[in-house]
Amino acid sequence: MTKSAANRELDPITVEVVRNKLEGIANEMQQTLLRSSFSPIVKEGLDASSSLFTIRGETLAQATAIPIHLATLIPIIEKILQVYPLATMKQGDVYCMNDPYLGGTHLPDVALVQPVFVGGRPIAISAAMTHHQDMGGMAPGSIPTNATEIFQEGLRLPPLKFRDAGKYNETLVAIIRQNVRIPDAVMGDLNAQLAACNVGARRIAELAADLGDNHALAIFDELLDRSEKLTRAALKSIPEGTYRYVDFNDNDGIELDKNIRFEVAVTVKDGTFHCDFTGSSPQVRGPFNCVPSGSLAAACYAVRAVTDPDIPTNAGCFRPISLALPKGSVVNPLEPAPVNSRTSTIKRITGCILGALKDVLPERVPADNSGEMLALMFGGHYRDGAAFVTGELIAGGSGAGLESDGVDVIETDVTNCMNLPVEAMEIDAPIRVHRIALRQDSGGAGAQRGGLGVVKEYEILDGDISFTYRGERHFFASQGSRGGGEGAKAYAVIKRVDGDEEVIPSKMMATLKRGDRVVIETAGGAGNGAPTARDRTALATDIADGKVSVEQARAQYGQA
């Protein structure tokens, strides 16, 4: 190819047209995935994502509804390409995998991966991942908080063919169906993933046929190079150095008195971004370990958050990132450590990476978020014997920025789930909610105040109900920036009908009886800047709104 021919082929306009199409294709896949999935967890929790990859396994375009999925398919594609080299793949093959120790995340997240062929030649890979309602194991939903090894968590799938040249692998389908509690729903969601992969494959094939496959491949490479260049340029604007942060999770749900340490050293140098987790706790007995794909998602999220949001998201953005994850630690556990509840771990890893940068990038990184996504589950039986399970995910406050207050009760960083309407819960379960209210004084004090947590009170109308509580920030508060105060710690208590009170130590499984009440208070986000510097009108408004009490205004803000 002559130089001028190469130049003409990669004319910047065609490159931009292709970029827009790739984003459109990823969005169309995602729309198909969300629309055709059966599970509420996908429809309301948006716990699913679609991606296009190059044949080398680099992300070309991605549609994620929640950032925890960012880049998590990368190790899976890598593994599949290792087990099934490209040369052995055929048109109509679809591969499937979920094993966290081979590159997955946790067992409910199952990936489907489909190579795309044009003229008999593979030119891209189309993939979709969905959090399934159940993958078997010791507990419905396959996220048992009391698991101590991965074998209890559900069915482990190594890289396998889900479809072979367009035909289902009936052996695999039979095994999956036999091992999950709701086989029809699981198959329905897998077929939704298949539909999404098909949309991606069809449109990528059309695109490559229009462009010519060599041309398409060259453009794909060019797009990755550009995002890399933009990301490196943005990283270079961060002062070089190594920035450290330490934070803790409360415990692993099994050994309640043992906190979990996260230590990170983020080195930003010459357009690269290296995160070293040396100093973090050894792996834990409970299911809060996080396999490397989770730490990668956290680092990718942090890089996307501190660089220019207009940079097209693809593998180029991730090339400057490297991770050092000590083997046998909570961020890189050894098999068969349990991993299902890794969400709070990924949140804390993300918080640490961002926290390390908050002093050097005060305009872009706020004070600590509550860093809590409280998970509650209630299960039991109605009077007529029918079983019910209901639960919700509850947020705390966000951290205050340099020039803006934190937001009260809002999902932060890598998660983004909706809460459960009180009316939905009361229709479905013998539970009454007595209040849902902003938690006064829970936002970290500061020139900019941290976001408030929430207080919620439940009453059990009919026993026995098995109750699971998975919290964080009960023992370690979010930390302020530039003299801002810490957010309030989370707190929860069971008030028994006989008057006894049991404080919940961050994680708990308990049985609730009729008349028992549970009061939860989620953590606040931290403050930014000295509280005494807070604008007095803003403080007066906070007092009028009851977000800050007169007592706290005096004690922390120096209000006369």
Binding site: P40, A233, D408, I436, A437
Partner: protein, 689 residues
Amino acid sequence: MTSAASQRSFEIGVDIGGTFTDIVCREAGGAMHVIKVPTTRGDPSEAVIKSIAEIRDRWGIGAHEVTRFTHGTTVATNAVLERKGARIGLITTAGFRDVLEIARQWRTQVYRVVLQPEAPVFLAPRRYRKEVPERLDATGAVLTPLDEEAVVRAADELVKEGVEAIAISFLFSFKNPAHERQAADLIRARHPGLMLSLSHEVDPAFREYERTVVTAFDAYVKPRVDSYLARLEGGLAQAGISAPLQVMQSRGGLASARVARDRPVRLFLSGPAAGVIGGQIVGASAATDNLITIDIGGTSADIALISRRKPMLRSEGVIAGHAVRVAMVDVTTIGAGGGSIAHLDAAGGLRVGPHSAGSEPGPACYGRGGQEATVTDASVVLGYLDPDFFAGGRLKLVPDKAAETIERRVAKPLDMTTAQAALGIHRVLNTQMAEGIRLVSVRQGIDPRTYSLVPLGGAGGIHATALSRELGIRRIIVPRIPGVLAAAGLLAAPIEHEVSADFATPIKGLDLAALRDKLREIDKRAAQLIAAEKVEAAAVTITYSADVCYIGQSYNLEIPLHLDDPDPAGRLYRDFLEAHDRIYGHSVDSPAKIVGLHAVHRAGGSDVLEEMRFAPIDGPKELGRRDIMVAGETAFVAAVVYDRDALPEGFAFAGPAIVQQSDTTTLVEPGWSGIVDAAGNLILTRDGE
């Protein structure tokens, strides 16, 4: 009155846009008159009143001859966008005043870490939210009676704070409205002038945040909409017009001003809904049932679908970034338009939008100091736009500025010719718009290739063939009068009232008697509303629908109810499965349930406007030739320029061609042919189809 003149009858439609107020006036069986007057932003009703004098002076139409006055308004929308709604109070069940502020704890910008509030707290900051003891359970049974003293105290405090309206939202009010009614009665008795919005009336469905926020929005815009429509009604009366004022609702149906004032939250898409009905008229005039309309303006493009001659609706819309649970025509806005700015990113890549040059200073070719290269500048460079005939000649474009800016901003840095750069800008923008249309189509479960494209807005015609090529669309309908379609849509829309109710039951073993009872109950309310419109009962058609979902699912589809079917429940279930399959790509035989019911009472309306007959003007059809550059060509080609107004029915031509008219320009690329149909539409088809 017995004179011949009194038998004349005129209907007027007035649509208020950002720049112009469009007035369409038609006489039954006669011609349709159109005028445009500048919008009066301070009080939009001024322009409307002025236009009545203009109608009288220009066409000799007397006020008493006006039998119907229809209106699309932006007042409700602007009150929210500009945050100029009323100060309101919110009264809730004790323990739940913060539901409005906590919302669904969800955020829209996932990669942003310094967050901004997502919930519309501005509607009622915490100090204006009061709680009163009262509680119902999930069946609507009273657990705690309403504390009347607390209601009075809360209302008194709020009034003292200067609120103009109060929203009341109690838990489970959709099961049992007694407490909300009781509270409203108490407040009305004490503060007679105060406006109220009650959640069980505004949105009787479960999920307390969604119901509360839509009720608060209703209260927030109510005083503004009320005074605006009162002024307008007063002005019309003063001008001698006794015809009822009807206002377009977001669903695409008209309601009397009285009802509109009562439920203003249904007016957020008043203008766009009229535009979609306008698209429907165009489709009907070209005997086409399935349409994609794309209205391309300066800063954005609005996409809507018309399927089987009905606008597609969505059950939840978005206003100023906030989801509101009120049915609307499904109009999707993407940030791509004529003013979209082309620029190079730090890696030297070409990007188009999402930033726009707007109208001030606007594209460089406007000659108002704009320094950015925009899509409109590219259109000038490519020869698509006649610099002397832009917007009907109202704005003279400066081609040198367009060329110079594209040269400087894009061509030179990318080492290409100005024309290549301009073509590139178009290709990128067209790709974005095509992907936008694809996404809307996938969401509604339709295949765009089986639809016709209707380009609207000043820039729609420029991009129509390129978009169709991209999407595999084979037929384009360019309306004759795209500039005033929204106003024409007002004349074509039916009067429509929708009433809904909570009704939760599995479809299996459906108690038909209970269903009919519930429908009779909501029918009664809908009948009262439509009776106030002074239409004959015989002219009213009634349709019912049910919100249905699989048991265990938490989102639902609205499915028509056929009570005349021998097995209404069976039919409903089958239709649900079919809709599920169409929209979501699959369905299974799992049990489903009804969660809510709707009755829609409709009267009048016809998307066939006979008055849209046209007569070509005398004059040359061809205005000359212009060199244009189109995709796939390496050099400029000569295109014939046609005067749209002079083209008669049956006139046919082949691309490359440009068709000019005062409010838009249509580019017919090579490979496309055009023909003028009986209604004056320009039908473009791809050669070889």
